[in-house]
């Protein structure tokens, strides 16, 4: 029986045919599940031509949806940024009882349905909610208003920054901070001049993902928003309303903005991974 001599690295890889087959399968899968939906957004938005696309974007309600989305993300993301840094400092830099439990609780919002995330705030602050009567008598509106949108968004994006920073700071250890302290730096100086520079790219990475989710969140804000046009509709909610009114071009036009946001996020993320892989946590280095 004739044998072909084995090729280099033949031991730890597949035959060229098997390789091509597996790559082909993956690409077809990606095409059907990821790429075509993205293309569909743009083609549907431009189905009636570019002028129609622009016209549907210049709708005042769409403008107010964009403003509201920026406002909600602009409040929620900084809140989670501060929380993420403080929580990561606590969990990564210290050893204490109950640390694992605390870490699990921070991740909790990941395993709660967005709809339930909205629901819990409705149950708390809504008209029939636990605090509803008191809020009403004091004239404070949370549900069906901006505060409710912010609360739901903060809840949904709660773990993003902390999740990114905790493994990174654990890998980095405490040696740098201990060195700074031993050289006479105060706690704040140590944080600003040593810790923060060490984690800045990881922090940016976390903020990037947090922001993408904050701007794109649908289920949770849908429950607390009340869908008041021009007032409590964020961009994803505006997409839904336009779509359900069979105004497809307009729905997809707003969707293109969100899709562009997603693409920018992906590009920035890839750049961060490429240029600062050493400054990101191990699981992000690929």
């Amino acid at each position: 029986m004739a044998h072909n001599p084995p090729q280099d690295q033949g031991v730890t890889t597949e035959t060229p045919f098997a390789r091509a087959l597996l790559i082909g399968l993956s690409l077809i899968f990606l095409l059907l599940v990821l790429v075509m939906p993205l293309l569909a957004v743009f083609t549907e938005a431009l189905r009636k031509g570019f002028p129609a696309f622009l016209e549907s974007l210049s709708d005042p309600e769409t403008f107010s949806a964009i403003r509201l989305t920026l406002l909600v993300a602009g409040i929620s993301v900084p809140l989670n940024l501060v929380f993420g840094v403080v929580a990561a400092w606590t969990i990564a830099k210290f050893e204490f009882k109950g640390k694992a439990v605390l870490s699990t609780l921070i991740d909790l919002p990941f395993s709660v349905s967005p709809v339930i995330s909205g629901l819990v705030f409705v149950l708390l602050f809504g008209a029939q909610g636990l605090l509803g009567p008191w809020l009403q008598s004091n004239g404070i509106q949370i549900i069906f208003a901006v505060p409710g949108l912010v609360l739901a968004t903060v809840f949904i994006t709660f773990p993003f920054v902390a999740r990114e920073l905790i493994p990174l700071m654990q890998e980095q250890g405490n040696a740098d901070e201990e060195a700074a302290l031993s050289l006479g730096a105060s706690g704040w100086q140590t944080f600003w001049h040593v810790t923060l520079p060490n984690i800045k790219w990881g922090l940016l990475y976390g903020v990037l993902l947090c922001n993408a989710r904050a701007m794109g969140e649908f289920g949770a804000v849908s429950v607390v928003s009340g869908h008041i046009r021009g007032q409590t509709n964020t961009m994803p909610l505006q997409v839904e309303i336009l779509y359900n009114e069979y105004n497809f071009v307009a729905a997809f036009a707003v969707a293109t903005l969100l899709a562009l946001l997603a693409l920018v996020t992906l590009v920035l993320k890839a750049l961060l991974e490429h240029h600062f892989s050493a400054e990101l946590s191990a699981s992000r280095r690929h």
Binding site: H3, P5, P6, Q7, D8, V11
Partner: protein, 345 residues
């Protein structure tokens, strides 16, 4: 089984890793491939295993041309530096793996595989550990499991790549002795790679010294230590001194002076003189000898090492007993090598 390596050349891309290497490995012998990193010793081992393909040349297992066979077909046992145990399998399943993956026709029944794996476990002195997982073992224990796993397939040849490289010094020494015992008992033809000369000399029947993709010398530990056949071997194995000398009329001269050392009559001109620090006598009379000043001395185990400056920047290191060292005059020391070798410049 004997293994013949014939005119093997191996290039990685355009970088040559081995140039025209030939080697006969006798059946049942324990042979060491010794060399610094980059000498091609691991490449040679992996070529024998079939983990790499030679650019040119052939490898024979007995009468069969193994170069035409894949690694799976060669039926070798390979032990890796970092054990490469399958961490989701128990020790017993690891050892039995090679038998389990055989085609149905040649696969022994399950009970038989278990029995043989247990036997090997006894052989490597890990009786009772069959249910453990690799992470529950120490480094030395893991390497013993790896060896048992390699032996389970009754290999034509057992190949070990720096098998003790990842272990602590003490465990290393124990395992060395133990490997020799196992080899004497089982008689597998065994090739192991090491960069540790002490390990190679202590363990092997024969040592293959390699450098820069070539074999420098093949011989018993005594041969390569006592009669190195190249400056590289002299320098790489044991400690040695090298001096640039002149040869003329059957005499060796250093800095113009005769030394009372004879050379072949027919050689003339410059040469390199190699000798070991311990192969000298101290000379106090005025017979011809090397002369210099003591630059420093340091204690090394039961001896004292004396660094001697011979002038014009030439230095040698000598090994003397502490008693001799105590009587030395730091200003003036005389000595003569008792065993030496000349190499062309």
């Amino acid at each position: 089984m004997e293994v013949k390596v014939q005119n093997i050349r191996k290039e990685f891309g355009r970088f040559p890793a081995l140039h025209d290497v030939s080697l006969d490995i006798r059946s049942g012998e324990l042979i060491a491939l010794l060399g610094p990193s980059g000498s091609g010793k691991t490449t040679l081992l992996r070529l024998i295993a079939g983990l790499e393909t030679p650019t040119e040349g052939r490898i024979f297992f007995g009468e069969t041309d193994a170069s035409e066979k894949t690694v799976q077909e060669r039926n070798i046992g390979f032990v890796f530096q970092h054990y490469a145990l399958f961490r989701h399998m128990t020790v017993l399943d690891n050892i039995g793996f090679g038998l389990t993956v055989r085609p149905r026709a040649t696969r022994p029944p399950k009970a038989e595989i278990r029995r043989r794996a247990k036997e090997l476990l006894d052989l490597v002195q890990l009786t009772g550990m069959e249910g453990r997982y690799p992470t529950q073992l120490s480094g030395g224990q893991r390497q013993r499991v790896a060896l048992a796993r390699a032996m389970a397939v009754e290999p034509n040849v057992l190949l070990l790549d720096e098998p003790f490289g990842a272990l602590d010094a003490q465990v290393r020494k124990d395992l060395r002795k133990w490997l020799r015992e196992i080899h004497d008992r089982t008689g597998h033809t065994t090739v192991f790679v090491t960069h540790d000369q002490e390990e190679a000399l202590e363990l092997a029947d024969r040592v293959v010294v390699m450098s820069q993709g070539k074999i420098e010398q093949v011989g018993t530990p005594d041969e390569v230590y006592d009669s190195p056949n190249s400056p590289f071997v002299f320098g790489f194995i044991g400690e040695s001194n090298c001096l640039r000398v002149d040869v003329d009329g059957g005499e060796i001269r250093f800095q113009g002076k005769t030394l009372g050392m004879a050379a072949a009559e027919d050689k003339h001109g410059e040469a390199l003189l190699y000798f070991r620090p311990q192969d000298i006598v101290l000379v106090e009379d005025d017979t011809p000898h090397f002369e210099g000043q003591i630059a420093s001395t340091r204690r090394v185990a039961g001896t004292r090492h004396v660094e001697v400056a011979l002038g014009s920047g030439a230095h040698v290191e000598l090994e003397v007993t502490p008693e001799q060292a105590a009587r030395l005059d730091p200003k003036k020391i005389g000595f003569r090598p008792t065993r030496w070798k000349l190499f062309p410049v």
